[in-house]
Symmetry: D3
Subunit: 247 residues, 6 copies
């Protein structure tokens, strides 16, 4: 039995529930979940990310200590992925890195459709950092804050569908990635909308995709390189003592 | 229950057995296997690949028709992956593409350690085609033909270990990919050799990694883009009638 | 007297005639031509390519044996170029590789105007593989199957002209490449159309360009590298015995 | 009179003193300095960076409020540069970004010589993110922790000189960047060592270089783009209330 | 007291006056200026550049001999920058290289808005040569010759503003660079126009930016690499004797 | 009968003679040659190039006026290629651009072996500008000035052979380009040396290769794009009146 631990990198309860991914459980695969005790209500900037990272690392360290086999950080900005990889040895996956590399294997180009214009540069920069910028057709936004998605879900789906179609028809995208993990569950509706317009294009819902990839890494015995992500050296630390003890 | 079908893209019986990956089976995951009725005894050139592809496509088409959920082509040259993706709708995975993108997420750089100098340019070109050349530290060869690996397994392991160490120490590799699916089962010994030399570096065994990735794609409901890999138009065909009937 | 051998990589008689390039003959340069005995009627997918390659290689081997000085494979997908280079020592040229590198020397950017949307990803991927993607402004299609070009030649010319103008005006192309060797003979009309719209832009007709480049390589004593394209090792082969005997 | 504010992104007093850069003061240019009240003693990993960022942002916000004209974050990992740019409007400079782009204008290639092997991947990734990886000859380490540099200064200088020479002679570096702001003041000795070996190669000391660049941006009226670094949206925040009030 | 010498690389008196940059003078910073005695009236092609370069080099050599601390060549084609760097040891800055690298640090993407369509390919090629093409959103032209800017200044400002807005809204530019040093003084008006349209985007006026960067390089003790820009070997020279004597 | 005009871009008589390429003449192909009346004795720096360019342009303009069908500038720095393309309409070829693109089609990687360390950065930068840097294995120098090659020809051949072997064995080159047109005639000896060491690697002698390519462009009716290389606008010019009259 393997356990994948999902960190909702916000202080908002209920943005992610284990029910969301219950259908991905298997006889030999279970999930656990944690949220942050300090940090922002949602993540829509590098500032929000910065304030989420210390608590994300703490959750990742606890997850490994509690026997988890892999950790997923549930945000398309991939906050805290690299420092968590330094602190622990089990795989740590970010949905942006995971979705973008998957998309790169699924078609000639891909677009990301996200929440706000303000996160478009962040996603472009992630594509650069991950080395897949050459296959990125565009990053587009539907102009809806993360915390409003749930209440305006039907509108979100509609805007995602229209914007995805623009990505396909104008920008030449062959694969669509939902650019916020808050769009969970919208992929099928978007794919149907695209199919109705004559585009047989897959749509990646990042959290299910990343959960399955984490499971794959665990089964294949893979983890990140400790040559890239070396354990940090122990040193004096003020304000994060709880973390320090795990170094 | 999902079924992943593995195509051994050669006419040589026994180069791949289902026993090899039996430990990757799960309560809801099974494997099937086919070999070619025409093609080469092993694949060590683009010529060998070219002669394997028509029969690979036929096997892929049959696999989909027989209910498989994904197809893997068991060779690090990824022969026939793209045309098979055109002919069917279930995911078709190549171990080179899969391993290279996985490696790109696991560390800052990776090297591929393969069989013969003659395949080094092919693997470099695959890294270019897949867009991961920037993270490729080197492609090195152990100078051993595919068909001799099994008989000279201990020597193969030894050479792989030494060559991998060279990739890490001289070329700066942070992740190692075994560059031939015939090196199946050697990853642990190489990782141990590297660890003994002070290098905590993961080693990707391509077939287990690709099997787990295929399982992940099936579970996540992902497939390749039909905008990139459109169904071929029906047309007159001489010499491959069996294939044509499936178009 | 040098001889350039052209392989029409299809089973369709008459898609290429030596008359087409008779004006390129010189006192010391002659041409020969072959078609396939097995393979597809036309090439519009990687599947079509795959089924053309074994017979292409056979024709290339025969051409070298018969004293040809260079081989050209007459399709913008460049099918079989690399495996043929492995099997023989005389230069083997593909019109896509040749035209794209020529275009890269002729202007700051280029576009390719091809037959069908389904081949757009293939041409984008070839540009990646050849390392010229950075100068590729766009790949556009006129939505006409290869086998209809000849009957609808005037319409093809018109669509090519309009689409080329779009490539120049919207996508910033400074050079146009005809993206199917079936568009043979259309370059002048398109260049005239562009000139009338105020664009002094060269249009590359791939077959004449590749023929002249092959002649250049022969005269300059150049050939492909046997370090990149090593002779394949002899091995057991089923279904392609005729080829095997030449290994 | 312009004021450049330097944030020493650690809790260690005295790692940076205004005396260090007093010679860079001008009749119309003054400096101020702050250190962190919480965070790590030194920065040698992405984990250390993560724990320094919240307090860095707070210092940057205060600096703008106090009338500073630009902010420099005194660490070659450029921690907190992007989120600080989001929160304030005056230029925020990171010495790695600044030194790498300067080096790119000063020669055909450059190498970075840093403290520990564990930061080599971080610096390679920064070069990727900044788009200058193509000109990066190598990142090398002298194997000395940040907090030991001051006590072992002579040894540090010696190792830097020898390692820089290796970068020039083996890796082809035309410019050297000191890869840790703790190497402050070592550039002249290294340049002299290189000159004695026949290499007329400039050595960039990152803090003086970044101070002068910040001064240049202020004088030229330049700042970062608010389209790339939009002000974060106000939202509920736990554990960083002091920061929230400045949003 | 440092002195920055500006070379107006044309024979036209008054295209640049020291008054233009008088506001950038500082208690410890002065400017000097020279124009060419032979060359073109303005620079709008590589041909114009070629004819300006011999006299530019002569001015640069004189400037160093006369005690200047840095040289700026006042044209966005950066003519003569590299050969001048070879002949002298003080920094030689080109406004295109300088502005493009600055822009790369100021936002995720940038566009250049220049005079004529005919210089668009030159600026694209400079971005390639400088390694920042990946961040270049577009190069656009306002269709006005250099020598008409001064007389049609209001119209120039208007066209620049509209074209910059197109760059931001259609091409995704996060930073704007004025693509001709003849647009001196227009940046504020353009930034105001963009701000009125809701775009908080910085506009780089290349000459002030380059002057401040040159000052920064002087203060930081930086210069170009003599490994990249070696002193030319003395040799026979016809037609440029004055230059030869300085070799 | 086509005529290819070769410009020896130096004032040194006899560095290039038509005899050198007499064996490339054909029943329908003739050559002509010019040298410069002003400029440097040889080209080994960007400074040397700058002083050769005005007279190169004059020779190119005359060549077109005299009925030449293409122009070649006989130097691996490709001096004056772009401004000459602006001034005339017939193809203008540079041996570096031509050889590098040819090499890119001939193997997976190539190295350039040139005269002096001081030209190594120039050739690296040309590879960047031409977009083929990704396939460039290395640029190496044999440490011999251009004007000494002829007198020390045997030594030059020996050093070229050894350095080429280093490029193949250490740097992974699959194709060798002679990096100075003064190495004319050495290719066969180097290829033989490499073959004796077991490397079946082609060696490009740039002038024969470029002559044959120019012939190919003429026969194929190709020329450079006037959208990239627009005719310069007429304008006042001092010191180059002879050129101006042709504008």
């Amino acid at each position: 039995m393997a356990e994948i631990h999902i960190i909702a990198p916000v202080i908002t309860q209920g943005m992610r529930n284990l029910d969301d991914i219950a259908h991905l459980a298997r006889p030999d695969l279970a999930f656990s979940l944690s949220v942050l005790d300090r940090g922002p209500a949602s993540i829509e900037s590098e500032y929000d990310e910065a304030l989420s990272v210390p608590a994300i690392i703490a959750r990742a360290v606890e997850a490994e200590r509690n026997g988890a086999d892999a950790v997923i950080i549930d945000c398309m900005g991939d906050p805290g992925v690299n420092p968590s990889r330094e602190m622990i040895r089990i795989p740590v996956l970010g949905p942006a890195e995971c979705s973008m590399h998957l998309a790169a294997t699924m078609g000639q180009t891909f677009s990301v459709v996200t929440v706000l214009d303000s996160v478009v540069p962040m996603l472009n920069n992630l594509a650069r950092a991950y080395g897949v910028k050459d296959k990125l057709a565009s990053v587009l936004a539907v102009d809806m804050p993360v915390l409003e998605i749930e209440q305006r879900l039907e509108e979100a789906r509609q805007r995602l569908a229209e914007t995805s179609r623009l990505a396909v028809e104008r920008d030449g995208a062959d694969v669509i990635i939902l650019g916020c993990t808050g769009f969970f569950g919208c992929a099928d509706a978007i794919a149907a909308h695209l199919a109705a317009a004559g585009h047989d294009v897959p749509v990646i819902d990042p959290i299910p995709a990343t959960v399955c990839m984490a499971d794959a890494m665990v089964r294949a015995g893979l983890r990140h390189s400790k040559k890239t992500y070396a354990y940090p050296r122990a040193k004096t630390l003020i304000g994060y003592e709880m973390l320090h003890s795990t170094g």
